[in-house]
């Protein structure tokens, strides 16, 4: 079922067993799981079914740390969420990403990698990915053209990626949600406050506002915030009438540990024998490639050298080329053009600049490749989301982002490339050049510093309430019926893009709620 909240009478109260706030990848993945269950589920979406500038403006916020694109460009505020312009890059997190690493402060998940396997497999279906298989050797068996470079896998290995079409959740799952008997979608329902009981031990309701000035209440047995990292933190912080620091924030953790993936051109590779080298494994053609490899550092080498996890993708091109970071390449304008192209039925070529389009289509075997880093940033409590003094059109304080790096972030990239250079030289594959910005001191970052449009952290998972906002089941510490879905619960960022893992975690949370609400 679907109702536009604008059509409800002011003061209406909605009731359900479960209320999911946010209809992006996390919220829709969960809602789909409840279709035809005996329980009543509300799915609240702040926007409508289409892009609306006024709704998008609710995401506007201040940037006070490292340069970042406008927040209202980074996330989409309508049914389907940011899957409306995502690129579809998927890979699993590695076992080491879940470990407590002595050299990475605040690292360690309260769950192990293996626990996610069944949920990764289910997430594959939702994201229209291929077989749940991320072993390079398996992909070589499926396609003999996909041959990994002959490297010592203990040092550098080929980490596989798969590519979603990309699945637009707002398009693909709209009918299933809207026609569901027991799942009720409310669009234009912006949650402005989470209200707790007097003892602050449980949530007793949500205050929802519309741009037309209506206010309604929502009551449910359990609530899930699935609004993305910045908005999840903003909502908890802004729910401060009963607890001045915000709900779930007794230990000042909400909003902290905001993380991105550092996505920067970091080096060059020249092949020793381009005529005989098989590089198809590493090629990418937008919209066509189903799977490819990136070069990743072995777990033991990460331990020995005390490094963060990261990968390098290969993009054909000469060393003298102007190479763009993700932020320089996928600008808000390009993302907007992608969204419009997609909504218009993908007529004509996609509005993507050339490099991503052509990497698999070179006439002659390329000798040179740009090496593009994708690395986790170390969890940093000072990298955070707080509330701005400015309020949005619904009277809610806007978010303020202070994105910060650490010396470990930069040292890890540089050392990764040194080790990559050694291994590619030892194996006779070729030589690596490290870009100049990496050779400066570890505190300095270029103005072109780039993330991947990935927001993580801010409501991190930890068994200790002093170190995390949610527990291993994604339940907010201290609040018996409030949960968080999405990449805001990540304690560390891993090397892979977050979407596959956040869908898997949402399915896991859904299973957990099925037992608690039964």
């Amino acid at each position: 079922m679907h109702t536009d909240t604008s059509a409800l009478e002011n003061g209406t109260t909605l009731e359900a067993d479960l209320c999911i706030v946010g209809a992006g990848a996390a919220g829709i993945s969960m809602a789909l799981e409840w279709i035809d269950s005996p329980l009543k589920v509300l799915l609240l979406e702040g926007g409508g079914f289409e892009f609306e500038p006024a709704m998008q403006d609710l995401y506007r916020g201040a940037i006070v740390g490292q340069p970042y694109f406008p927040l209202q460009a980074a996330r989409l505020h309508y049914f389907g969420g940011t899957t409306g312009h995502w690129a579809g890059f998927c890979s699993t997190y590695d076992a080491i990403d879940f470990e407590t690493r002595a050299w990475v402060p605040h690292s360690g998940w309260p769950i192990r990698r293996e626990e996610l396997d069944p949920f990764y497999a289910r997430a594959h279906h939702l994201l229209d990915l291929g077989p749940y298989e991320y072993d390079a050797a398996d992909w070589s068996r499926r396609d003999p053209e996909l041959v990994p470079l002959p490297l010592d896998e203990r040092v550098v290995w080929t980490k596989m990626w798969q590519f979603s079409p990309p699945t637009r959740f707002g398009t693909k799952y709209r009918e299933a949600i809207v026609s569901a008997r027991n799942v009720h979608l409310y669009t234009h329902a912006n949650v402005c406050e989470v209200e707790a009981n007097e003892s602050l031990t449980a949530v007793q309701g949500l205050r929802v506002r519309t741009l037309g000035g209506k206010e309604i209440r929502v009551r449910a047995r359990s609530y899930v915030l699935a609004c993305c990292s910045i908005q999840n933190a903003r909502l908890l912080l802004a729910s401060n009438r009963q607890a001045s620091a915000g709900l779930g924030n007794a230990h000042d953790v909400v909003g902290r540990y905001f993380m991105e993936h550092i996505e920067m051109p970091s080096g060059e590779l020249v092949l020793a024998q381009p005529e005989t080298a098989k590089m198809e494994m590493y090629a990418f053609e937008w919209g066509r490639t189903k799977a490819r490899g990136e070069l990743a550092l072995g777990a033991q080498v990460q331990r020995e050298h005390r490094l963060l996890n990261g990968t390098a993708s290969l993009e054909p091109g000469a060393p003298d080329d102007q190479v763009k970071s993700t932020f320089q390449f996928l600008t808000p304008q390009v993302l907007d053009a992608m969204r419009k192209w997609d909504q218009a039925g993908r007529k004509g070529p996609p509005p993507i600049p050339q490099p991503l389009m052509d990497s698999a289509a070179a006439a002659a075997p390329p000798r040179f490749f740009h090496l593009m880093t994708r690395q986790e940033q170390a969890p940093n409590p000072d990298s955070r989301v707080t509330l701005s003094a400015e309020k949005d059109a619904l009277g809610m304080p806007r978010a303020k982002l202070d994105w910060r790096m650490t010396e470990l972030d930069k040292r890890s990239i540089r050392t990764f490339y040194q080790l990559l250079g050694r291994e590619l030289g030892r194996s006779g594959t070729g030589r690596v050049q490290i870009r100049e910005w990496l050779l400066d001191d570890d505190r300095t970052w270029p103005s072109s510093i780039s993330g991947g449009w990935h927001h993580m952290g801010t409501t991190r998972m930890h068994t200790d309430p002093r170190q995390g906002v949610v527990d291993a089941n994604c339940r907010v510490h201290g609040l018996g019926n409030l949960y968080v879905a999405g990449s805001s619960v990540y304690p560390t960022a891993g090397a892979a893009n977050p979407t596959l893992t956040l869908v898997a975690l949402s399915l896991r949370l859904s299973d957990h709620l099925k037992t608690t609400l039964a």
């Binding site: 092949l271 020793a272 000798r367 040194q418 250079g421 050694r422 030289g425 006779g428 030589r431 490290i434």
Partner: protein, 129 residues
């Protein structure tokens, strides 16, 4: 002195081996002289870039800013591993691979180079100034 057939065969075989080894060594030396100043990097990066790398290396390591010093350093670099005494020294390609494997690398203009090939670039830059 008389020698039996068995001793004769042993001596002639040994003599032949000495002759072959001397000849091989002479050929190796001539080849080395050429190869040492022609790094495999030429095929990857071209003469201009290799020359730039060589010049930069000589700036970074003034003590090796002479042909003799560079040749000696390359030779010493090739003597690190276990060698059979009468064989010629390991090939430069092998020496370069060993450098990478053992972490004997240098950063020159951002390139991660084996110590041996960095010196080869330096020699190349001296020969093609």
């Amino acid at each position: 002195m008389t020698i039996d057939r068995r001793q004769f065969l042993q001596l002639t075989t040994a003599g032949a081996l000495v002759g072959l080894t001397s000849s091989a060594c002479a050929n190796d030396e001539a080849e080395d002289t050429r190869a040492v100043a022609e790094p495999a990097l030429l095929g990857m990066l071209g003469a201009d870039r290799v020359r730039e790398l060589g010049v930069r290396y000589r700036q970074m390591v003034p003590a090796e800013n002479r042909e003799a010093a560079l040749r000696a350093a390359i030779t010493n670099g090739g003597q690190r591993g276990l060698r059979v005494p009468w064989t010629s020294r390991p090939s430069l390609a092998r020496q370069v691979r060993d450098d990478f494997a053992d972490g004997r690398t240098v950063l020159v203009n951002g390139w991660v180079l084996s110590a041996t090939e960095a010196r080869q670039c330096a020699l190349f830059s001296l020969h093609h100034a």
